[in-house]
Symmetry: D2
Subunit: 277 residues, 4 copies
């Protein structure tokens, strides 16, 4: 059976947050802004046709996006010991940029830590522990090269995010894996890890994004890319814990990351597995 037929009837979940001016994002990055430049009626062609289009200004690390390995360095070195200065120029990164990330189409495991604690969303500043991950992974195989997502339920706050709801966690922090949990994840040798918060990792209250040790562990030490600001609420609710993930960030040559619209594809020609029930 051809693949396209195998996927007929599959359920496709959009794991990206909608991108719009004012959406929550890290203050370290240029704010997203989309402006209509030409509007219908500005320039009407003789036959009555007209086109509209926009200009977009943005950072690469806004909305749902993938961190390239080149995003973080330690003591001047990128992953694999490459000196950052040698591959960095006005054109971005000659190596380890997001264009070096091969699109991922494959198995993904969701570790639902919110469910472990019986909550819809983990509290601000909560540090996800090794024990949390092990309990969430019970009955699930974590294979080398697969994708692993850590569910915190944090994306449920997106729509209400504002000055009242501190999505970025600038004041109250954000839930996510701490250093030990990150090492546990890295030891499984995944292709990529991801989550719902802006920084993926544990942000303690009042600390902001000042130090990001989990980024160092994943990107520099382990060569594992990170997907951030994912929309997982619907996936968490679906009960699926093992599914097909499509992760294809924009191929921006030399960039330290890129926006992406990840898709989870649930179901199969022979029905859902127990884990997807």
């Amino acid at each position: 059976m051809p693949l396209w037929k195998a996927l007929e009837g599959a359920r496709v979940l959009d794991l990206a947050q909608p991108m719009r001016k004012g959406m929550p994002q890290s203050p370290n990055h240029p704010p997203f802004r989309m402006t209509l430049e030409r509007r219908h009626g500005d320039l009407v062609r003789p036959g009555g046709g007209s086109a509209a289009n926009e200009i977009i200004v943005t950072g690469a690390h806004v909305g749902t996006h993938v961190d390239a390995l080149a995003h973080v360095s330690q003591d001047g070195l990128l992953h694999g010991g490459r000196p950052a200065a040698e591959v960095m120029s006005q054109d971005g990164f000659a190596e380890l940029g997001i264009d070096a990330f091969e699109p991922y189409v494959g198995r993904c495991v969701l570790l639902d830590v919110a469910a472990v604690h019986g909550v819809a969303a983990l509290p601000p500043g909560y540090e996800v522990t090794v024990d949390d991950l092990e309990r969430a992974a019970a009955g699930l195989e974590l294979r080398e090269g697969d994708a692993v997502l850590v569910g915190t339920g944090w994306s449920r706050h997106w729509a209400a995010a504002s000055q009242e709801v501190d999505f970025a966690g600038a004041r109250g922090g954000a839930p996510g894996p701490g250093v030990d949990a990150a090492r546990w994840l890295a030891a499984r040798r995944p292709r990529v890890v991801g989550g719902e918060t802006i920084a993926f990792e544990h942000v303690p209250p009042g600390r902001g994004h000042a130090t990001l040790p989990v980024h160092r562990i994943m990107l520099v030490e382990s060569g594992v890319n990170i997907v951030e600001t994912m929309r997982l609420d619907e996936l968490l609710d679906s009960g699926a814990r093992e599914f097909l993930l499509v992760l294809n960030p924009l191929p921006i040559v030399g960039a330290t990351g890129a926006p992406v619209r990840p898709l989870a594809v649930l179901g199969g020609s022979e029905g859902l597995g127990a884990s997807e029930g």
Copy 2:
């Protein structure tokens, strides 16, 4: 069998052109530009860590991208007769923007018109005809709601594009479906059509992108989205004519289009169909 298992061993083809400053694009849209803003070493944290990131300025219709239905109007009206002025504001389009495009994961048919003519790439300014499409579609089923790509071989010129190679066709035109071919395509009621050139449609020599009747037929009259500037060379060479396509443009709320990194997934758990041989 779960879907992710069905896809193990599948061949994934990246159908997006790499995005970089100076790449070919329509002069009607803001030029793509990615600049490193923060470099490694600019701000080294106490522990020796450092992060780099960029600022991006771009149009939505640059690189490989999907046109939203709101992109074109005729006599002031968008698809379905909606007055453009009613849904257009500083926030973009309240309806028919690219965020209204549901990600597509499904069957795609490739009509290889270059192969019909026995050439690697159709000549500049060549108008793809109904006869061309019918010959390219021989033996292939075109179903309502599927994706249809028209192969011209034009993406083979991308890497060499420059002032010498006129990728956009400003002077010599670009190959693509003319009005009759567009009506033939629209009559099959596809979900989306796509191709390798910047405008998808036939651009006669010396005319540039001044009038784009095929855009009107597809976007306004038929409600069919268009994918442009695709990288199809590898797909054309693969011989696959029927395959799984993933098309998930960035969800930019209210935009008239968005960049995308489409993927073709070839193969299947039960082997390739004859058409993919």
Copy 3:
């Protein structure tokens, strides 16, 4: 005596605030951002030379700037009863844009309202009244076509502006002329008025920039341009109340405003007037 000789020994005061990322500005406008794009060493020419340069993203109404008459409309009409829709397009404004503002080199009067109240800076949300202006104007001639600045002392807060110091007045408001004071100013038929706050006019606490009646009075009803976010502290301290002003906003064709670096030139070949003592 040639003019350049007449100005030798004159004291030139820079009335512009320095422009940098994160400076206070109205949330209604795109934030100012300057990023080095090419750095020294990125591209070293054979002889050892290298150039650096930047990319700038900004609104026109950030930092010290002049409002064009096209900036505000009332009931769809611009100054002089021109329908806004008729002169507005993707290229900006065909009339009444900032390029229609002829550079001003001439007499300027400073009405120091802070001094009237014996304070370094007026309190947040203070409404400058007609009585304030009349007291500040005592002994000063206000001539048709001259420039008039209203001193509030607010620019003294610029350097400390931050989340703690609410320069924009989003919460506590900002001092400035109310409606009556604006009518008093407009009746003197100045060429341009200006001040130190972001909106020039009185912003009551808790109101933000939601309604700006003084903008309507000045720009739409009276055809008087407004200079905002000026740095007047040094000028206020100088004691000069009548001086030469140079006001030459960037000639951005069709824009609703433009940044400017205004200069006050104090002194003269035959000595300071009493008012400049």
Copy 4:
């Protein structure tokens, strides 16, 4: 007599080219683009008022602008021997940026080399020589610290600039001082030099802006700022050769240059000097 009175009746010449999308500029810099973001009618307040504003994306070296000393380095060093790397960061230049340029209000001398040759504009690729400058300077005093402009007549081509008229000189070159003429100018120790072309200096045919030795001489070796892309046609026609110049580039902190709207002020309370006749 106060200064403002001394300037009454003076003639003010705008020496800036109008800034608009598509204007001639160096390909080394981000293209200027101004887009209306909010239009009248997008958001009408209860009382019927509405505001329009824009977003601007640009390089600092576009339109009429001043080069900061930090713009060019030689062997890694800026003017005065400062290593570029020490003062360069994500915030631009901590020293020698355009914010270090004190606004200039003073005497300016115009050396009209086009007049020396009896032409309206020097031909493309013409190298201005020491002899040209000496003949143009006949009868004019060049004092240390003054501004010196070199007239080539090139700004007469601005309005017609297009693919036909090669304003930037990419193919045919542009007229301007060569290395010897630059050393002659630098030896007079001016505060600033300026001209009508994009690069100020001699650009030989077919060379583009690949090497710019005059920039090195002025910015690095001599500490003399450069004004480029000036509009001098009206000034050349006026016959004024010695006049008051106002040069106040935008105070963009850390930038390698900034746009400016220079003004020439002609005349004086005691009449024009012979040189202004």
